[in-house]
Symmetry: C2
Subunit: 298 residues, 2 copies
């Protein structure tokens, strides 16, 4: 039960001129039914990350309106910045948040891709869960050569776009569209200042060195002076926060170290928090629609 909810996080190639950024963001603000959650601009990257959410159809409208505006006001031939990019709208990920499957989010990506070509003549690559082949799953592979190398890359054998003809838009380049899981930035602080302990725990729990799937981790020194295991949880539905917390806690025990506290950085989907309660209280048959505030959102 409850309404479908999708998050959309377009990255545009403008992080300096406030009037250009707000012209693009206004396209989201003007779309009924979606909520603008965050705008983060980076001057040295010359890039802005815009986060909004809403029901699928509304999020689709807002994403298209944003792209149309960005194509209008951003000229890639004049763009300089440190972050790799392919176009005026560099990447548009759809993130299923509530009552949405990943295939549905992929469907949204496909629809937006078709519209970008049909209405704006911007060629599109699909990435992540929406990728059409394994070489196009990761953004860095698609971005290689950047806007400046796009014309040559597109006409090569392997890089014809997924939608549209094999030539960049003259001022807006190309756009990467896709679907991915929400990412949770999660830090666990230890009752020790020994960063080396945090590094060893990070190695034990992360996917890349034999630990938990969907978990990235490193050991760092926190601002508090404590050693910290700093994590990205890439799929909280498959690998929930509680499992990560408990494994870090167990690994810390090997060093005689206790977990002091943990911290969720930024936004987290309600389901991830509900799963924590479900785990520790051994909840049976709990539905998120039992949460009063979730009922109010239906």
């Amino acid at each position: 039960m409850g309404g479908k909810l999708v998050e959309c996080v377009p990255n545009i190639s403008e992080g300096r001129r406030a009037e250009v950024i707000s012209a693009v963001v206004d396209a989201v603000r003007a779309t009924e039914g979606v909520r603008l959650l965050n705008v983060q601009s980076d001057e040295s990257h010359n890039r802005s990350v815009i986060t909004f959410a809403g029901p699928p159809e509304r999020a689709m409208e807002a994403a298209f309106a944003l792209c149309a505006r960005a194509v209008e006001v951003i000229n890639m031939n004049e763009h300089r910045g440190e972050h790799p990019r392919l176009g005026a709208v560099d990447v548009v990920p759809f993130v299923p948040i509530a009552n949405m499957t990943m295939p549905e989010a992929v469907g949204l990506a496909r629809m937006l891709g078709a519209r970008l070509w049909d209405a704006l003549r911007v060629p599109v690559y699909f990435y992540a869960e929406a990728a059409t082949r394994s070489q196009r799953v990761r953004l860095p592979d698609i971005r290689k050569g950047e806007y400046e190398g796009l014309k040559d890359k597109m006409t090569g054998p392997d890089w014809a776009p997924d939608v549209g003809e094999a030539r960049p838009h003259p001022t807006a380049g190309a756009t990467v569209v896709g679907a991915r899981r929400p990412l949770i930035a999660y830090n666990i602080n230890l009752h020790t200042a020994a960063v080396d302990v945090a590094k060893q725990i990070a190695r034990a729990v992360r996917e890349s060195s034999g630990g938990l799937l969907n978990v990235q981790a490193m050991g760092v020194a926190a601002a508090t002076g404590q050693a910290q295991v700093s994590l990205n949880l890439l799929d909280h539905a498959a690998t929930p926060i509680s499992r990560v917390f408990e494994l870090v806690r167990r690994e810390a025990e090997r060093f005689g170290v206790e977990v002091a506290e943990s911290e969720i950085v930024g936004l987290v989907p309600l389901d991830a928090v509900v799963d924590v309660a479900r785990h520790y209280l051994r909840l049976r048959g709990f539905d998120r629609e039992q949460i009063l505030e979730a009922r109010l959102m239906e």
Copy 2:
């Protein structure tokens, strides 16, 4: 941050005639900005419990509209039912859910009380957190004598109403208005069929026999065949779910019994679920506005 949210749970003295019930409920449906959450009618009680929620001003409007309609369509002189009651609208509790203090909820109760007398000539008693004296905290004390005894009771020395003159409305009697905490119905099932163990645990954890404040508990047999500690949590902010769960778990250990699972029955405020995550993950500085869905409600 975030919008104020209050729940309102009026009880009306009609649980049989569907057209009368829906006429009253329609007054809530017609009020913009509030969400009807539940309507539960009991034939033998001849009584309906209506649950809705919204921002304070909107909830106040809906509560008043509901009362006005109920006074219009319910005649207490013709009412029979097993549940004690004083009036067409028997009781109207306001329950602070999010970003609301109890004094704010009491303020709402006071405002509604004044309007019921001014506009409808229904005298009002304040109860629970809104009570004006200790004898009026509990509903059973106020309801004693019921509608039929109201005329004599009101003119006695101790029972002048808190608002209005000391005479019942000729068809609608009197109404009790107040503010209370949300109640969480919570069951914990044990890995044993021994109901006696559940009863002993219930005695250990409940307020009435020296346990946790704000906790009611009894030991019963669950439909699953397991022994169950069945609890009401009367103030989850002061006495959180996690504390109750952990104490039940510890007391069960005395009998060599493990907790099998637990169950939240019906609605629960988001804060109560967030507090569970906060406790077990030792979360530092977590704000409910970090939950994506909560941000969308702002």
